[in-house]
């Protein structure tokens, strides 16, 4: 599944819901669902706010795949300003936003809610965030 939407703040909620609707067929728990939605939210809001500075001409792409064994792959991609130093950006508390509004914890949250986080970015070209989460299928009926 692949979604494209404009870089508008209100589309963050939509992207989160769409991801939840997509993985629902895998019977996640509410907690797993919330973790996935939170990760999507953080990545998408970064693309909207940092990548495009909320310019609605920017297009954010969300891709979700369900792999064998309950592995969920989520990719959030923008063609925005990009990140100069990805390692620094991933550090807890690091933010280029106004500190009252931004916590600098977005990447840390994604990292802790997902099993794997990859960030690829080039200044001026955009950012691709890949998150992988393994659902616990053991409690299947």
């Amino acid at each position: 599944m692949r979604i494209e939407f404009a870089a508008l703040a209100e589309n963050e909620a939509f992207a989160r819901s769409a991801a939840a609707a997509f993985v629902a067929c895998m019977d996640p728990t509410i907690e797993e669902l919330t973790e996935i939605k939170t990760g999507v939210s953080e990545a998408v809001s970064n693309s909207i706010i940092h990548g495009y500075k909320e310019n609605p001409n920017g297009t954010v792409e969300l891709e979700c795949q369900i792999r064998e064994g309950g592995k969920i792959v989520i990719i959030v991609r923008d063609q925005g300003v990009g990140i100069e130093d990805v390692n620094k950006a991933r550090e807890p508390m690091f933010t280029t936003g106004k500190t009252e509004e931004r916590s600098g914890m977005g990447f840390t949250v994604m990292e802790s809610f997902m099993d794997r986080l990859e960030v690829e970015s080039r200044a001026g070209e955009g950012t691709t965030v890949t998150m992988i989460k393994q659902l616990d299928l053991s409690d299947g009926l």
Binding site: S17, A20, I30, V109, F113
Partner: protein, 77 residues
């Protein structure tokens, strides 16, 4: 189809925002109940069955309330 439409109109003139919130709270209550009964976290299909609703409607409803788990909890402990 006229009948279906009338049925929808008679029973569903409330706004979605309120209805979704009601469903979401019911889902959280069902989650608590099932957790106790099953001694593990129920999945959304089990919760939907308990509420006699469609799984997709339960999932959609959950979007309307604050995230049921605290954001920073797993980060800081």
């Amino acid at each position: 189809i006229g009948e279906v439409r009338r049925y929808l109109r008679d029973n569903n003139s409330i706004r979605v925002s309120r209805s979704l919130r009601d469903t979401a709270y019911k889902a959280l209550q069902a989650k608590e109940k099932l957790s106790r009964e099953l001694q593990r976290e129920p999945n959304v299909t089990e919760i939907a069955k308990e509420l006699e609703m469609k799984r997709e409607d339960v999932v959609l409803a959950l979007d309307s309330i604050q995230d049921p788990i605290s954001l920073f909890e797993p980060v800081f402990h």
